[in-house]
């Protein structure tokens, strides 16, 4: 609470100070015009202002270059940095505390500090750990599939094709539509359109626990491959043509060119693309929400149950990724403190994983 108080005070009082300054300047201008000599005379008779007054006059309210610079510095930063502090940094710090309380939707403001109890609880909760495992599996598969598809598409549309701009725009188009809307489109396709074909498609992939994740990956690949393709296209077009020509003269076939020229020189784009796909896969929320709502039930795999010492294998949700799990813990079960603890664990794991990925990929880049 005191943090909000401090922030609000800064936001409310600093404009007032500035207004006072403006106002005073207007008044002094008027008096300057009329009674300049008298003003000066009275000024010398007063005693010198105190240090604090001088400090504020020279650094903030005065007409010196320094105070003008300081004022501009402050006022130019306030809108962006102020709302950033208020709506991102402050909730983040608050969240660290709230994850250690028994906060539920009902006791807001009266929650009690309970230490690391929430963290102990979520690490012992096999559903949460399993949802992390699912997210990892999903992310790895997703990153692989999206990048392979995107790279192949990029290779295809950088060939000498007649309508390559049409293809590029076409592959990119799914990316324009929001994840939520996409989810509904594909829910229809999986559950209605494909099932009507019968045969192998008779049961929708979204209705079976073991295939729902595959269905989700197909959707996200359809959405995201075009975007990643654009990044690869930019990289492929940046490859110096003389290298390609030299290798042709040396008699390299197209596969050798791909392996020895394209791959190393596109490595930087790989870093970017892998990073982007990693982050989006980890944070996947809207598409899953509208496609499966956490997904069809499946029986917990045996090895996972053994790991937690469960004798009977319970039923879990198959596409319950971490982002969905956090949302449902908070807004379906109203265990907000626990949800916040999950979110913070999620944050640290995402941070570590993305740092490792960038470090690992950076090693493989080539300068040219």
């Amino acid at each position: 609470m005191y943090r909000i108080l401090l922030g609000t005070m800064a936001i409310v009082f600093l404009p007032i100070f500035s207004m006072v300054r403006l106002f005073r300047r207007l008044i002094t201008k008027k008096s300057n015009q009329t009674t300049l000599p008298a003003h000066q005379a009275s000024d010398t008779s007063k005693k010198a202002p105190s240090y604090a007054v001088r400090f504020w006059r020279d650094n903030w309210f005065g007409d010196t270059d320094k105070s003008q610079n300081n004022r501009v510095f402050f006022w130019f930063l306030v809108p962006a940095f102020g709302s950033f502090l208020l709506f991102v940094i402050l909730p983040f710090i608050q969240g660290l505390y709230l994850s250690m309380t028994n906060w539920t939707g009902l006791n807001t403001g009266r929650e009690v500090f309970i230490g690391l109890e929430n963290y102990a609880k979520i690490f012992a909760d096999f559903r949460f750990v399993f949802s992390f495992f699912r997210t990892f599996a999903y992310s790895v598969l997703n990153i692989l599939v999206i990048n392979v598809v995107a790279f192949l598409l990029a290779l295809l549309v950088t060939q000498n094709l007649k309508f390559k701009n049409v293809y590029r725009a076409g592959f990119f188009m799914p990316n324009l539509i929001g994840g939520l809307v996409l989810g509904y489109i594909w829910q229809f396709i999986y559950n209605r359109a494909l099932t009507s074909l019968g045969g192998a498609f008779a049961t929708s992939v979204l209705q079976r626990g073991d295939t729902a994740l595959v269905g989700l990956i197909a959707v996200v690949t359809w959405q995201y491959a075009g975007y990643i393709m654009m990044i690869y296209i930019a990289a492929i077009q940046n490859i110096p043509q003389d290298l390609v020509e030299a290798s042709t003269i040396d008699g390299a076939n197209s596969f050798q060119k791909l392996r020895t020229i394209t791959f190393p020189l596109v490595a930087q784009a790989f870093t970017v693309a892998m990073f982007l796909t990693l982050i989006t896969s980890f944070k996947q929320f809207d598409t899953v929400m509208s496609l499966t709502q956490g997904g069809p039930p499946m029986v917990l795999p045996e090895w996972f149950g053994n790991f937690f010492g469960l004798t009977t294998l319970p039923v879990v949700n198959s596409t319950n990724l971490v982002a969905i799990n956090i949302y449902q813990t908070a807004f379906t079960n109203y265990s907000l403190g626990e949800g916040q603890a999950k979110a913070i664990v999620f944050f640290f794991i995402l941070l570590v994983v993305s740092l490792i990925q960038v470090q690992y990929n950076k090693k493989k880049e080539v300068e040219f």
């Binding site: 510095f73 208020l86 188009m173 229809f188």
Partner: protein, 299 residues
């Protein structure tokens, strides 16, 4: 004889390389394009069918294309969907946030580059740190904070335009400040000094001299942030709520899908109506959108 065979072989490989492979690649690209367009096709086709027809023949062409118009009218007519008001809300929130993010982060980045003190370094680092914070970590305390702010100041922040726009400024600022920061560093300071000698005050230097120079990055950010804000679901659902007065298009699609669970004709029509504005925009500003999204990512 041998020479003849070699010549023949050469012409066949030449034929394969010059004619056959390009044609095959072209065919492959067209096929892939058709695969990519299949979902769009399904949406258009099925938005134009009554429910019975959707269930019986989801793959076939509709018997009556005019159904799409009837579905459209029905969606506009329903009070609990409010298509037009949510469309207007989306436009207001997106454009206000875009302009605010662009101008405010440009201002912040400019003073951070041009003022070399330890504060400016620290503030820039804090902005950078903000880039790695995912929304999920902040969302629960944020909802609570908005309520507390209302209790404290008396100004409502939930379900208001200024609340949502401020939240978008906060979440959009780090990336935007970062991109602007990189760009402003490359602008020679002489231009600004010349403006000061010509009698500009410091803030005029920014708005009259620097802001026009920032235009290319501004366009990139317009595209990047615009796509994100227009399609965003999680932030609006928390800050506005599904039943809110200022609900955006994704919220109203989610609402409709929740109300009419199995009425696929209506749902797909609303999906089409939500996707159409941005697809139309894409046709007109294709180059800018693609360039904006890729160059933003690579930086």
């Amino acid at each position: 004889m041998a020479a003849n065979i070699i010549r023949q072989k050469m012409t066949t490989t030449r034929f394969v390389r010059k004619t056959l492979i390009p044609v095959l690649l072209e065919v492959l690209a067209v096929l892939l394009l058709l695969v990519f367009f299949f979902p769009f096709w399904m949406v258009i086709v099925n938005a134009a069918k009554p429910l019975s027809e959707i269930i019986l023949r989801p793959m076939s062409l509709p018997s009556d294309w005019l159904n799409i118009w009837r579905n459209f009218l029905e969606i506009i007519g329903r009070d609990n969907i409010d298509y037009f008001s949510s469309f207007v809300n989306s436009v207001i929130i997106t454009s206000a946030s875009l302009i605010a993010i662009g101008v405010f982060s440009g201002m912040a980045a400019w003073v951070l580059v041009r003022t070399k003190t330890k504060y400016s370094n620290w503030i820039f680092l804090i902005f950078l740190a903000g880039m790695v914070i995912p929304f999920q970590v902040v969302m629960l305390p944020l909802v609570r904070l908005l309520q507390e702010l209302k209790n404290f100041t008396g100004i409502p922040f939930k379900d208001t335009y200024h609340g949502v726009v401020m939240a978008y400024i906060a979440f959009g600022a780090p990336l935007s400040v970062f991109l602007f920061h990189g760009f402003i560093k490359s602008i020679p300071i002489d231009v600004e000094e010349a403006a000061i000698i010509d009698g500009c005050t410091k803030s005029q230097v920014f708005f009259r001299v620097v802001l026009p120079i920032l235009k290319p990055i501004f366009m990139t950010l317009l595209v990047l942030n615009g796509m994100w804000i227009w399609n965003d679901y999680l932030l609006p659902v928390l800050v506005i709520g599904l039943g809110g007065d200022t609900k955006t298009l994704p919220l109203s699609v989610a609402n409709l899908a929740g109300f009419y669970d199995k009425e696929w004709g209506l749902i797909l029509t609303s999906v089409l109506m939500a996707a159409l504005p941005i697809l139309i925009l894409f046709f007109f500003a294709q180059k800018h959108i693609i360039r904006g999204m890729t160059s933003g990512a690579i930086k």
